[in-house]
Amino acid sequence: MAELKIVGTSVSRKDAVEKVTGMAEFIEDRYMGPMLYAKMKKSTVAHGKIKSIDTTRALKHPGVKAVLTGKDYPNLIGLYLIDRSFLAVEKVRFWGEPVAVVAATTEKAAAEAVELIEVEYEELPGVFDPREGMKPDAPLIHEDLANYEIVPIFYPKAGTNIANHFKIRKGDINKGFEEADLIIERDYYVPQMQHVPIETHKAAVQWSPDGKLTVWSTAQSPNVVRQLLSKSLDIPMHKIRVISSYIGGGFGCKAGASIEGLLVPIAQKFPGHIVRIVFTREEDMQGTFTRQALYSKLKTGVRKDRRITSLQYKMIWDGGAYTEYGVNIVRAAGYSSTGAYDIPNVKTDSYCVYTNNSIGGPVRGFGMCEMQWGIERQLEVIARELDMDPLEVRLINGMKKGSSTASGQVVHDLDYDKCLKVVADKIGWGKKESNRNGKYRGKGIAGLVKCPAQPSNAASSAIIRINEDGTAHVMIGATEMGQGMLTAISQIAAETLHIPVDKIDIKVPDTDFTPYEWQSVGSRITYTCGTSVKRAAEDALGQIYRVAADLLETPEEDLSFDGKNIFSTNNSDKKATIREVADSCKKCTGEGIAGPIIGRGSFVPTNMTNLDPETGQGNPGLFYCFGATGVEVEVDPETGVVTVLQLACSIDAGKAVNPQLCTAQLHGGTIMGLSTALYEEVCFDKGIMLNRNFTDYKIATIDNTPHMDSFIIETPETHGPYGARGIGEQPMIGVAPAIANAVCNALGVEFNTFPLTPERVWQAVKDKK
């Protein structure tokens, strides 16, 4: 590979000046036109039949233009399992589920009218624990499960609350346990958390009299929004335009399609008006995806030589009231269920179970934080039982080139050992720090792995327009929600086109103008969109050479381009500026050679397969990204307060397209992980979410943030653009188990759940006594 000039450098963010000056446009920042404001009426029971909805008084309220209920939304929506309606029809399945929507000329009128809607429910027995929900006599939440449309890689059980049962059968589990000298069994629990991006969910919709629908949304995935709206509302795609401005944080909650469709029937009644909805913080916490809670049981067999022979992993996920997206998290956790370790015999059963809690859905890590919590805690227990070094257990069993995952996919491009060793070195692994002032110190380590969880044909595309002066517009459908995608993608384009990155313009997506991107999720954009852009740039560059060859009457293979001039490597007189080539090139005779140069590139994975329905064997991973976290803590056993003294994180990025932004992701994911490890838990009481604001749902602040040391490892991804792979979610995965392992080592206790709140740690110390 030629020496890279732009990829691998820390150029400033493309969105930098806009974002530090307040000019960056988020969707609520623009005046759009005559406005109607929408507000939702929400269910006051977690599970119940809707006996009646009386909207009479609300409709008469001054300023109110429309009040809609479930009957106005005949079709269901969903990404994988089509089980959700925009408004509840006939029954409600979680507390706070929207049952009606009001549109009014002011937000105040809309809010007042919502209070005037009267809804009568007949409350039904609820399911709040998926383990109970799995039982045959549990109250049924979706009576129509058997009739729902579903992508045929998921396996719901009709007549039950099980929305998906994913299985791994690899090797011979019994033989594996027979070979083992030690068998460890533990139960684990991971509670729900919330993404809480500082920007809540927002959408605005306009219906023009000619039947064109325009949607502005905080959506991470405008193309999916367009596709799902087209299907559920029966509008052809060319009549739907979806625009995602800058997004004030996504972390998964703005994936799929969420609130946009709710507004469309209103907009259709008032052509030309903009109908807008802005979620309050409370609505955002309670009404959008939560991270699914996970109840799990691990049984691990280990030989004395420290090799793990077998793993039996049972996962029961709290899918919440609708699992349109959640079924795939359950699947991803299933096919990745050995974590970063090579285990020959595996039996996994991963169940997605409907409950009457808030809707489960994607969160940074897509099941990996929850699933690998069990793996990484279990390894610690194993190490202690065998009196071995936890790092060594990880190094011995960790995946290496040629290892196979739970689904039997062979991994090639990784250096997991190095990921572990750098963080271990950094925190002084093996050096026991003495306890001081009645406080206990401990170190912990955890590894991590994740591949994008996406359909095997999730595609991507890019267009590059070369301007007359040789500058370029890169057009893509990926969204910018902070991850730095615009910058990294520009760098890939600039590198390939041999032009400086500041000669590239790139914008957030607008489906009328930017080409298809499946979703900005799964840490996939650098790889998928990056590959598309690289191909588009190569296409454009090829055209530049072809045109120049014609113009200069020189064979293409003799030409070179330095960003300004295309010249013959044999004859320095044969030279044309990029301007001459790009600006409707003509010969000296005046005869035209070529019009504007437009490069195109697209991508679809060719290395992924379906999985066997019985064994789960196959290739679900586009690429696998490994990393590790190392932590030193100090614990006050009296108060239970955990202080993180050292925090080191590593990621095998393949190639860091922009090392500074890669590090920023590493830090950001690590802080989110720390926040969940120590503070975050959504509390429910029979489906009612109790901590729905920042007063009682606490996330890490700057003074909770210790200094972090980060390490980028670069084992090139063979098919990634310039060797890069995605890293956005991964840094979060190892943090909770690493912190817990450190606390466990400090105190000599076991934690099977988190967050490690002061009270929980104190309780563990007390129970040990």
């Binding site: 108060t639 901590n691 009682d696 606490k698 890490a700 602040t701 709140t757 309780q763």
Partner: protein
């Protein structure tokens, strides 16, 4: 958006009149609790009287009486006031524990106590300092000790037509160290799971605790043991605090954890103020 009247008031008597005659009239100073409470439906205000510019409420002074903190003085102003820092640093600690820096640029000590949350971070220090609340109203002025000001969660001794004019920390100031120890879920901007104020007064101690009862409470059992019986084993003294408190379980902590934490923080407070 809520509907109510707003009256900017520069004259205390006008404020009394509004408070006396109006229905659901609330004085507005920093607004950091009031506006949150109105949004959440806790307060149904029909009129807000903005009292920030009333001269009598903008007093921040030290004189022969002690330190007077007017109702419109922000927490950051209290924290930055040299006589407070030098003589009653425990109060600065309590004020500093409320919210974030930007909140403390608006929030006032009077607002913190008028909200009457048992967890109010300024309350326990004020209890331990035997602060006096100067109340003004159309019917005249009166002064009551802080412990009579708190009546229950959200309830104060203010009568209709009255407002807090100032908080007074009387001279003589306590001799000896005072400390406010707060347990919370994150250790950052957070409400107190429990808050313990321990103030040495020469060879005596006063201890006050927040978030463990319907109002902040004094730990009289502990004080008695230390001050009267001469208990020097701080752990033993601290154990007595269980008799002074009756915490509940909520999102911030269980009853058991609160009992435990109060004991730990009282002991630590005694160690740090009365000597190990």
């Amino acid at each position: 958006m809520l509907s109510y009247d707003y009256i900017k008031c520069a004259d205390l008597n006008l404020a009394f009149q509004e408070l006396e005659e109006g229905e659901q009239v609330y004085p507005l100073a920093g607004g950091t609790d009031l506006i949150v409470g109105m949004r959440g439906g806790k307060f149904a205000a029909k009129t807000l009287i903005d009292i920030k510019d009333v001269p009598e409420l903008n007093v921040l002074k030290e004189d022969d009486q002690g330190i007077t903190i007017g109702a419109a003085i922000t927490l950051n102003e209290v924290t930055g006031f040299t006589p407070v820092r030098e003589n009653v640093p425990i109060l600065a600690e309590g004020c500093h524990s409320v919210g974030s820096y930007s909140i403390r640029n608006r929030a006032t000590i009077a607002g913190n106590i008028c909200n009457a949350s048992p967890a109010a971070d300024t309350a326990a220090p004020l209890y331990a300092l035997d602060a006096v609340i100067n109340i003004a109203g159309s019917g005249g002025n009166r002064s009551i000790p802080i412990k009579e000001f708190f009546i229950g969660p959200g309830k104060t001794a203010l009568n209709k037509g009255e407002l807090v004019q100032s908080v007074l920390i009387r001279k003589p100031y306590p001799k000896g160290k005072g400390i406010y120890l707060k347990a919370s879920r994150t250790g950052s901007v957070d409400l107190a799971t429990v808050g313990v104020a321990v103030q040495r007064w020469g060879d005596q101690v006063k201890i006050a605790i927040g978030a463990v009862a319907a109002t902040p409470v004094r730990a009289f059992s502990v004080e008695k043991a230390v001050n009267e019986a001469g208990e020097k084993r701080w752990a033993d003294a601290a154990r007595l605090v269980h008799e002074d408190i009756s915490p509940i379980t909520d999102l911030r902590g269980s009853r058991e954890y609160r009992y435990h934490m109060v004991e730990v923080l009282v002991r630590r407070g005694l160690e740090q103020t009365m000597g190990v």
